[in-house]
């Protein structure tokens, strides 16, 4: 589904954000990407739908090369859902309108069709009663659930999560993770940048550990948690699991 082959990325002439990254996410697979801050994990996931350009290597999404100038990027992006750290709901649109915008303007669905789909998804994330509110009237956890629903409304073939819980107050993290766990159990292809190792243990198939722009470890979940091969991953795990 997602293939990342020997990707190199630089910011400016000197700073290399990604160093020869290669990995793969198969259909229905849930892959968790972790690593210390500044390790390049957010950059990597944003390269998958070309929010960030890459200079070398290739990224292939469902058979289509992302970094090919001939690729119709808007069309490709519409097929991949993305959830951001800071939710990024559109503040001037009501919750239900946030769910309809992409469906109507990108997929060309009728307003009624979009509304019906939006209502169904809001119900699914437990926020149907808030359909006519504005984003700023909801809590962070609620906003992030809306953001997931917004992405799902596009009927994506895969979902990308960029630290979906790290901007949330602790008591709101589980409501978001619950939605993500359900999604994973339904067989959605997911690439998730997160520090939530509980989530990784529960539903991930594989775990990727990044440091300084490199993929240091790319292992099956049980292998990763059982006995990480690299020192860096061991250190990271002990730090993150100690509290």
């Amino acid at each position: 589904m997602i293939e990342i082959n020997h990707v190199n990325k630089w910011y400016g002439p000197t700073f290399q954000a990604l160093k020869d990254c290669t990995t793969k996410v198969a259909k229905g697979e849930v892959v968790v990407v972790c690593g210390p801050s500044g390790s390049g994990k957010s950059t990597l996931i944003k390269c998958v739908n070309a929010l960030e350009p890459i200079q070398e290597g290739e990224i292939i999404l469902d058979g289509i090369k992302v970094n090919d100038p001939k690729t119709d990027l808007p069309k490709l992006r519409a097929r991949v859902g993305m959830v951001f750290q800071h939710f990024e709901l559109f503040p001037h649109l009501r919750i239900i309108e946030n769910l309809c915008l992409g469906q109507e303007k990108v997929l060309g669905r009728s307003h009624d069709e979009a509304m019906a789909k939006g209502a169904k998804l809001l119900d699914r994330v437990g926020l149907k009663v808030h359909a006519n509110k504005y984003p700023a009237e909801l809590s962070g956890g609620q906003q992030q659930r809306v953001a997931i629903a917004r992405a799902l409304a596009m009927d994506p073939i895969a979902m990308l999560f960029d630290e979906p819980t790290s901007a949330l107050d602790p008591e709101m993290i589980s409501e978001v993770l619950d939605v993500m766990v359900d999604l994973a159990r339904e067989g959605m292809t997911m690439m998730v940048v997160t520090h939530e190792m509980g989530f990784a243990r529960k539903v991930a198939h594989r775990v990727i550990f990044m440091d300084q722009g490199e993929i240091v470890e790319d292992a099956l979940k049980d292998d990763f948690f059982g006995k990480p091969r690299s020192d860096r991953a061991q250190k990271f795990l002990s730090k993150i699991l100690s509290h």
Binding site: M82, V106, Y134, A136
Partner: protein, 243 residues
């Protein structure tokens, strides 16, 4: 002060036989409002396009925006009006120039367009700053949904940015109206112009200018009140603009 006040002058007939001095001032007020609104529409249209150009990643777009703003910002408005009014017809092919010079209401159109373009540079700067102040994630979220750049601006960035810059836009609108007085130099007899003619005909200089002053203050009050009303009706519940 040995000045002979005569407040009843407003009800005396003005030379020209079109009514009293008060009528004369009112017609000036009306022309000021017309010119101001016409110019403001031009400023908004060009200012929006240029303001957006200044925020695009393209170098060419940036330079066009930069050149436009610097061109219109670094010359006195009076000189710009002279260029449009006296110089442009001479530089065009003969027949066009002649048509321009013989156009009825030439001062009105010249003033509206000249002031509109002058103000467009300032609208562009405000809008560019407004867009730049939005969190980067908003643009990424729009892109990730599959919206094209144009759609992203149309449905997400511009609606938020315009709300944020409402207060500075209000003062730019007032500046536009005030700037119409400069067109007195190309023969537009707007409010200040009518006050000046009243002073020349009647010698009641302070009454004439007091009346014009009061009318400008009224315009200000009406515009500020109207814009506040608009701002309030467009306000997004829970969202603090400028944050």
């Amino acid at each position: 002060m040995n000045y002979n006040w005569n407040w009843s002058i407003f009800f005396e007939p003005a030379p020209g036989g079109t009514g009293t001095y008060f009528h004369m001032l009112l017609s000036g007020l009306w022309l000021t409002i017309q010119t101001g609104i016409f110019a403001w529409i031009i400023a908004l249209i060009f200012g929006s396009v240029i303001g957006v150009l200044r925020t695009l990643p393209s170098k060419t777009a940036y330079w066009i925006g930069f050149a436009w703003v610097e061109f219109f910002r670094n010359m006195p408005l009076l000189v710009q009006l002279f260029l449009w009014f006296f110089v442009l017809p001479e530089l065009l092919p003969r027949s066009w120039g002649l048509w321009l010079k013989q156009m009825p209401n030439a001062p009105f159109y010249t003033a509206a367009i000249g002031i509109g373009l002058f103000m467009s540079a300032r609208v562009a700067v405000q809008l560019g700053a407004g867009i730049a102040s939005l969190p980067r994630g908003q643009k990424q979220a729009a892109t990730a949904l599959g919206l094209t750049t144009l759609q992203g601006y149309r449905y997400v960035l511009l609606p938020i940015a315009f709300r944020i810059i409402m207060p500075p836009l209000t003062s730019e609108f007032l500046n536009t109206i005030k700037n119409t007085a400069v067109a007195i130099t190309i023969g537009l007899i707007e409010l200040t112009g009518q006050a000046r003619s009243m002073q020349e005909f009647s010698f009641q200089v302070f009454e004439a200018f007091t009346a014009a002053t009061v009318m400008y203050l009224l315009i200000n009050i009406v515009v500020v009140t109207g814009m506040r009303f608009l701002e309030r009706s467009l306000a997004i519940p829970g969202y603090i603009t400028g944050k």
